[in-house]
């Protein structure tokens, strides 16, 4: 269902309100428009894949939703309420959890401290035992291969760090979870585990935004595939759409599926009229 005119179509009504809903969201870094008039809806229990070439603005979009960057214009609704995601803690408090592409872990702290960072249970007397048990439970759910959670994160490999970052995002039962290239550094088993995890999170009724360059993975888990190109929406696809169409939308080949579909749609509408 690619459609440029209203790119973030709610595919089937009756799924209630979107968890998150963006309208005309733009973000400029000085003269660079990283995002222009982005529209995006994510429903509870839906996995939306965000794809696009390098520099398309995927990470910037995730950071806007995580409260790291403030949008230059546009509105964001969370569960129907207009929100201003003024800081990362505001986004976290709403229930938006993020695995950043650059992971954002504190290398000098150990795994447990990183997983619980900013969300420690007993502020005046940290409960290390409870935190460690919960950390192991989360990591085991992800089939993590981490020998010790009491080592500084600096001693972990890229894949292990990624697992820690994912475990952290699951800690507080979020309503929307965003994963920016979560499988980029992972081995075969962990990639499968993360895809499984996305399925499970979806079944629990969470909204999921996942960014990946791996079209296999994207097709395996996504309900909808939203394409960004040069900071703009460039079509919405389903996993069943053809590979070539998707690639064309990503790369922006002149004669691409999007333009063809738009033509077809226009023709259909004329037919109806």
């Amino acid at each position: 269902m690619a459609d440029i005119a209203s790119p973030a179509v709610p595919p089937d009504p009756g799924r209630g309100e979107p968890v998150i809903s963006l309208r005309n969201v733009s973000k400029n870094f000085g003269a660079v428009s990283a995002l222009t008039d982005i529209e995006l809806d994510v429903y509870p229990g839906e996995v939306v894949a965000l794809v696009g070439d390098n520099g398309a603005g995927k990470s910037t979009l995730v950071k806007v939703l995580a409260g790291v960057h403030h949008p230059s214009s546009g509105t964001i609704r969370f569960n129907g309420q207009e929100v201003s995601l003024s800081s990362p803690s505001a986004a976290l408090d709403l229930g938006i959890a993020t695995v950043f592409q650059d992971l954002a872990l504190c290398e000098n702290l150990d795994v447990v401290a990183n997983i619980y960072l900013g969300r420690e249970a007993n502020p005046w007397k940290l409960d290390e035992v409870a935190m460690e048990v919960r950390a192991w439970t989360l990591l085991n759910e992800l089939s993590a291969r981490i020998p010790s959670v009491r080592e500084p994160v600096a001693s972990l490999s890229g894949g292990q760090r990624q697992t820690v970052a994912i475990a952290r995002s699951l800690l507080l039962e979020p309503k929307l979870i965003m994963l920016d290239e979560p499988t980029a550094a992972l081995g075969v088993a962990q990639t499968a585990e993360v895809l499984n995890l996305i399925e499970r999170v979806r079944e629990r009724g969470l909204g999921v935004i996942v960014i990946s360059h791996n079209m296999e993975d994207v097709r395996a888990v996504a309900d909808r595939i939203v394409v960004l190109r040069l900071g703009r929406n460039n079509g919405v696809f389903t996993p069943d759409d053809s590979h070539n169409d998707l690639i064309a939308a990503i790369t922006g080949a002149a004669e691409n599926s999007v333009s063809r579909r738009a033509e077809r749609r226009a023709a259909r509408q004329e037919g109806h009229a």
Binding site: A66, V68, S87, P88, S89, L92, D93, T98, F100, L103, A104, L105, C106, E107, N108, L109, A113, L117, G118, R119, E120, N122, P123, W124, K125, L126, E128, V129, A130, E132, V133, W136, T137, N140, R145, I146, P147, S148, V149, R150, E151, P152, V153, A154, S155, L156, R168
Partner: protein, 417 residues
């Protein structure tokens, strides 16, 4: 343990990975410790080695050095600059610096003298005003940093001059205000020692606390399906701590005993250590010092953390200034000038708190200042001029920074950040 619901395949939750060496008992604890040291996690080791060396050398040159009376006196001198250094640890943990702590302490002593002696205020009010001004100055640095992005190095350098000017202005033409020796605060600063019985009992407390909390943590961990570690390790640590403290206290009891002021300093160090290691605030401090952006994205209020650290640092500097006025029996234009600033910063670094942020301990202020005072004291006993003292302290500081930098490199190559 295999009966525990949390354990994996009969192994404790944290020992399930087959690649993990199953360190058990005292030997295992020792092996883990050596591993950490080899990878560049030196902690307090360099300063401990340094202290032993200093004691041996100076005692060899002049046996008076290690006499109980001299050690008591040395510890008395540690307290004031040590408290200032404790504040420095806070800002260093964030990878920042406060160069104005010396001036702040001098200003605090001037305020104490002017309000208390010249204006006849109750001493408590004078102290509150001095501490409050310290907090205000710290808040100003933090605001400059948070809102304008002014590097703490520059802001506090400006503060160094401005506060010094204010101190000179307050003291005016007289230049110095004497505090009467009969006043309790001055007695506290010059001649207040703990009763030997009390210091002996207090020396038993840390070991007992360590034993109790260690065994309790061990039981809780095992109940939760984690390895508890060997009880023997806990007992050995507690015993070593108790023996060490009791030996020191009994030794000092042969002279005048433990100075109250030093006890206050140690109390503050213990409290700060707890705050850094066991509270959410301390965890946030470490996180901001380690990776500011990651801390922000984890929802930590980074600005508030900077504010708390700078306020704490300046307030402790003011407290150190008040106590040093009591120690000297006067508030003078020289208070806080000279080497107070550098000693306080050097102590934290010598004690093993990294200049690069995110790594360090409250105890580094304690050990670092003892090293510095021991060197000063030893050289004074040898009748060596302050020129030599400065050169030697400069060398020691350089050595400490070299050790810090090398350890950092070694950690990087061992993948320990």
């Amino acid at each position: 343990m295999s009966s525990n619901p949390n354990s994996v395949a009969g192994r404790a939750l944290d020992r399930a990975d087959a690649r993990l060496r199953q360190d058990e008992g005292l030997g295992g604890a020792l092996r883990g410790f050596l591993d950490r040291v080899r990878s560049g996690d030196l902690g307090m080791i360099p300063v401990a080695v340094g202290l032993v060396l200093i004691s041996v050398i100076f005692t060899g040159l002049n046996p008076v050095f290690l006499r109980p009376g001299n050690v008591s006196n040395l510890l008395y001198d540690c307290a004031t600059t040590g408290i200032i250094s404790l504040g420095i640890v806070c800002v260093l943990l964030l990878g920042e610096i406060d160069l104005s702590v010396g001036s702040m302490s001098g200003l605090a002593s001037a305020i104490l003298g002017v309000l208390w002696i010249n204006h006849g205020w109750p001493v408590a009010w004078a102290i509150v005003v001095a501490l409050g001004l310290g907090a205000l100055v710290g808040a100003l640095y933090a605001t400059l940093y948070n809102r304008i992005g002014m590097p703490s190095f520059v802001a506090t350098l400006a503060g160094l001059l401005a506060l010094l000017g204010f101190q000179l202005y307050l003291l005016g033409s007289s230049g110095s205000i004497n505090l009467p020796f009969s006043l309790p605060l001055v007695v506290f600063g010059q001649n207040a020692y703990m009763p030997n019985g009390l210091s002996f009992v207090l020396a038993l407390l840390p070991g007992a606390a360590l034993l109790w909390s260690g065994l309790r943590a061990r039981a809780r961990r095992q109940a939760a399906g984690l390895t508890g570690g060997a009880a023997s390790v806990v007992v050995a640590k507690a015993a070593a701590l108790t023996i060490g403290l009791v030996a020191v206290v009994l030794y000092l009891a042969q002279g005048r005993g433990v100075p109250w002021m030093f006890a206050l300093f140690v109390g503050l160090v213990v409290a700060m250590d707890y705050a850094i290691r066991r509270t959410k605030w301390g965890r946030s401090m470490m996180a901001v010092g380690g990776n500011r952006e990651a801390a922000r994205r984890a929802g930590i209020n980074v600005r508030r953390i900077y504010l708390s650290a700078f306020v704490l640092c300046s307030t402790l500097a003011a407290l150190g200034g008040i106590l040093s006025a009591a120690r000297l029996g006067s508030a003078s234009q020289q208070a806080g000038a000279g080497d107070v600033n550098l000693n306080a910063i050097a102590a934290a670094v010598i004690g093993g708190t990294s200049l690069f942020g995110g790594r360090g301990s409250a105890y580094s202020a304690l050990l670092g200042i003892i090293v510095i005072q021991a060197i000063s004291n030893g050289l004074t006993l040898l009748n060596l001029s302050s020129s030599l003292r400065y050169m030697i302290l400069g060398g020691v500081l350089a050595l400490a920074v070299i050790v810090d930098s090398l350890a950092r490199r070694s950690r990087a190559s061992h993948g320990r950040g």
